[in-house]
Amino acid sequence: MNARFEYLLRLGDDALIMGQQLGLWTGHGPVLEEDIALTNIGLDQIGQARAWLTLAGRCEEKGRDEDQLAYFRPPAEFRNALLCERPNGHFGDTITRQFLFDAYATELHAGLCHSEDSEIAAIARKSAKESAYHLRHSRAWMIRLGDGTEESHHKLQNSLNEIMPYAEDLFYTDTVTALAASEGWGIDPSSLRDAWDTHVEEMLKESGLNRPQSTAEQTGGRMGQHSEQLSQLLKEMQVLPRTYPNAEW
């Protein structure tokens, strides 16, 4: 197995699915300004996905580019964490998913800036600034809604209860992550756990939300075990290039 290819696919697929999900909010944001904010963040993540997947394709050495990896793989070959494919739901669901991911991505990108692989480090340096802003945005919303009205607090607590177990998949470790860490070009995600937890704790304290009772933690995304939700999402994302291969505009 090509560990670097696998590892880069995970980074790229996380960003791609998160970006695609935010893209679905275009024209549906709660207010115009937030509509633009969500779309901007989604575009940042699509940009990150392009960089990771292009690099993944080069590491694979089978001639696949970013488009082939994004548009011509079936769901079982996607390596995104299960958190990323949780449905958009209402605005609070989307923001909760985004916050849990942004807290992870901020630490991940900061760590990857020190990668032994200069290309990985370069993409991480660009992404780190974006992720730090994304976290600032989603964190502010968690606090605003958690500490808002009785209704907003109640809704957000439910979102957190439902979505948080899927964040476990972000910290999944196996031979790929072990090799990435030992060779110094990647990061063992479990090493990000404490920093991530600090972000979550601070958010909980300021928002007045409660840490969900630990329920069965969900993993499997890194092995290609996905929910029906991902199939639906990919179907919509991939239909155009699959119907008209090599189409340009």
């Binding site: 207010v31 115009l32 300004e33 937030e34 600032r136 502010a140």
Partner: protein, 95 residues
């Protein structure tokens, strides 16, 4: 459910080359922090800005259009207030 509009904020951006903040428009936001973030997304996407100010629109006191003639017309015939009678050395910028 009653849907209230968020307060209106006036946005001022200092551009990369600019010396002072300029009014660029307005937007809605629930609080000042959100106003800065929204301004960043709405008005600085194409590298326009190096600094953002947000001001609650309600905090701005404007002159009344009715007073226009009283306020501004008296300046019409006072050309001596313009520094056009001096030769400016080339080294003086931003005049």
């Amino acid at each position: 459910m009653e849907k209230k509009n968020w307060p209106l904020w006036e946005i001022f951006i200092r551009s990369r080359q600019g010396l002072s903040h300029r009014h660029v428009g307005s937007l809605h936001a629930a609080d000042a922090e959100m106003a800065v973030e929204n301004a960043r997304d709405v008005y600085t996407r194409r590298q326009e800005g190096a600094s953002i100010w947000v001001v609650p629109a309600s905090a701005i006191t404007a002159s009344s259009p009715d007073e226009k003639s009283v306020l501004f017309d008296p300046a019409d015939d006072k050309v001596y207030r313009h520094p056009t009678f001096y030769d400016l050395p080339d080294e003086i910028k931003h005049m």
